[in-house]
């Protein structure tokens, strides 16, 4: 590679870093994304000068097909389906790395003029094997995550006894495949079959590892999974960079790997669970199994109506809205914004409290509310707003459950014990809009529903919020 091409790759890596750096604040984030895409353009153009292009039609056909599909997906997908789209894109990233690793094996086996068989070393074989392994795990794992998010697969953990053991064995098989590829490297020209079959073995076992890794993980743990697969897709790209000896790929892949891993750890922290605990799965379900309105003995529920909520909220000084996954399901983000607008026009201070794992991916609620034009200055992270609940008149919980369950503070034996929660019960009145009393994803009954200062509004989130807005208009 000539120095000018190397420098172009360096430039694109610098643009990626600067672009990600601008992602730190909402006003600069958009230009950051533009910088990063400029970096990508630079890298691709530089690549066209690495060797002579032999087949322009193939290149153009691939780029045009992929570009068209990508554009349609990016423009058409509704904001409520962003978790699914991100999962799919992660999967494509992994698939691309697996394809490139396979193509590299093919170059050597078919004696392409691009490569010199004498440079094929055990080290290179290991790097190709790792890229194939990580790429395939990312690909099939993301497909399962997509299926769960889209509702094609059950949101409940799909598991069987010993699933972790089987996954471990399969992963071991993949590693054995990599070792075989390395051992077969010196005999590549005389005995290419070892390399070929080891490669196929790695791909097959990695595909199964990806499936079994995500099957046992329940729907509400998806923020962790999506972030982790994001990290894998970056590491797969970095591994491809090692194959091609390409700085741009190593730097940018590693940046993405770091980003995904950091988000993964933040999500785990927000649930007070270790990554191992999430990944071994079998935790909770969609919470839809228990019967709808059973009130436990000795406890009572106070119901309220949209009209009462309207009066309560209109004459409040401070209202904090706590959105959860239920808001996304009901697509109630616009209705909520309209209610907030009405209340603000009556002089009520309205803010939003966002729990880190509310929804199905990191930042899910923020994107939905941004779509509904809620200014990000009104969105507060858990640590910023938790102390404010005690001076709040109404905490309005819409489709959130486990993240406001006081059991996380109290019962030490419960699965959610120690999970940081939003302290909505400190507010003077808590109104929970929810279809039923069913427990959240953790399966732990929510003691918030039976507290003296809690009012339940049993309804679909969007309808209830719209009716409340109408009632506020009349006041």
């Amino acid at each position: 590679m000539t120095p000018s091409i190397e420098l172009a790759y360096l430039l694109s890596a610098v643009l990626f870093v600067l672009g990600l750096k601008r992602m730190q604040t909402p006003p600069t984030a958009r230009s950051g994304n533009a910088l990063a895409s400029l970096g990508m353009f630079t890298a691709v153009v530089a690549t066209l000068f690495v060797h002579d292009v032999l087949s322009w039609p193939l290149l153009l056909a691939g780029v045009l097909t992929g570009g068209a599909i990508g554009t349609v997906l990016a423009v058409r997908t509704p904001m409520t389906s962003m978790p699914e789209l991100v999962a799919v894109f992660n999967g494509f990233g992994g698939a691309a790395s697996a394809f490139v690793a396979s193509a590299e094996i093919a170059q050597y086996l078919q004696g392409s003029r691009l490569v010199d068989a004498s440079t094929y070393s055990p080290t290179l074989a290991v790097v190709i094997g790792v890229s194939l392994l990580v790429g395939m795990i990312t690909f099939t794992g993301s497909l399962v995550a997509f299926g769960k998010l889209q509702g094609l697969l059950s949101g409940n953990p799909i598991t069987f006894p010993g699933v972790a053991f089987v996954t471990g064995l399969l992963l071991l098989a993949g590693v054995v495949g990599i070792v075989l590829m390395a051992l077969g490297a010196p005999e590549l020209t005389t005995d290419p079959d070892i390399t070929l079959y080891a490669g196929i073995g790695i791909a097959a076992s990695a595909a199964l590892v990806g499936l079994f890794l995500v099957f046992p993980i329940g729907g509400a743990d998806m923020p962790v999974v999506v972030a982790l697969l994001n990290s894998y897709s970056g590491l797969a790209a970095a591994a491809t960079g090692f194959i091609l000896d390409n700085t741009a790929l190593i730097v940018s892949g590693t940046l993405v790997g770091a980003a995904g891993f950091m988000l993964t750890m933040q999500m785990c922290e927000a649930m007070n669970r270790s990554l191992a605990n999430v990944m071994l799965g079998g935790f909770g379900g969609d919470g839809a199994t228990s019967s709808a309105l059973d009130i436990p003995e000795g406890k009572s529920v106070q119901e309220t109506s949209p009209q009462d909520l309207a009066i309560l909220a209109t004459y409040a000084e401070r209202v904090i809205i706590v959105p959860g996954y239920g808001l996304a399901v009901a697509q109630a983000q616009h209705a909520v914004r309209e209610l907030a607008d009405r209340l603000q026009s009556k002089g009520v201070d309205v803010r939003y409290a966002i729990h880190p794992v509310a929804g199905r991916m990191p930042g899910h609620m923020n994107v939905l509310l941004a779509e509904a034009d809620v200014p990000y200055e009104q969105l507060f992270e858990m640590d910023e707003i938790n102390s404010a609940f005690s001076s709040t008149d109404v905490a309005l919980v819409i489709g959130a459950n486990d993240v406001v369950n006081p059991a996380a503070r109290e019962a030490s034996g419960s699965p959610i014990a120690g999970m940081p929660i939003l302290d909505v019960d400190d507010a003077e009145t808590v109104v929970v809009i929810k279809r039923s009393l069913s427990p959240g994803y953790s399966g732990v009954p929510n003691s918030l529903f039976y507290q003296d200062n809690t009012r339940m509004l049993f309804a679909d989130a969007k309808e209830a919020v719209s009716e409340t807005t109408e009632a506020v208009k009349g006041l």
């Binding site: 994304n33 895409s37 066209l48 991100v86 093919a106 790997g257």
Partner: protein, 100 residues
């Protein structure tokens, strides 16, 4: 190889340093933007599909080219779409919201 390992470690440190400060509000665009960047595998796809004379490599490279381009084009576009929402000033009218 050892230079590449050095680059890898430094990039990981740099990435962690730059990214821990991203606020929760931007976590989704960060993920989709980072994902578009991981489509840098496109570079490998271009080499395999366009510059090789081994037809298996071309075929596999073509597959890589399609999925990597989806990843890059789709990823950057959808991130821009999200960030446009975060940046815009809210309109005075609330009439576009849905009511049922």
């Amino acid at each position: 190889m050892i230079e590449n390992v050095i680059i890898f470690v430094l990039a990981a440190l740099l990435g962690t340093e730059v990214l821990t400060k991203v606020p929760q509000t931007l976590h989704t665009p960060l993920m989709s933007g980072a994902n578009a960047i991981s489509g840098i595998t496109l570079v490998g796809a271009v080499i395999a599909a366009g510059m090789s004379d081994a037809w298996w490599a071309q075929a596999l490279g073509f597959g890589a080219l399609v999925v990597a381009t989806i990843n890059v084009v789709g990823g950057f576009l959808v991130t821009d779409r999200m960030l446009r929402m975060f940046g815009r000033k809210r309109s005075a009218s609330a009439s576009d919201s849905s009511s049922s």
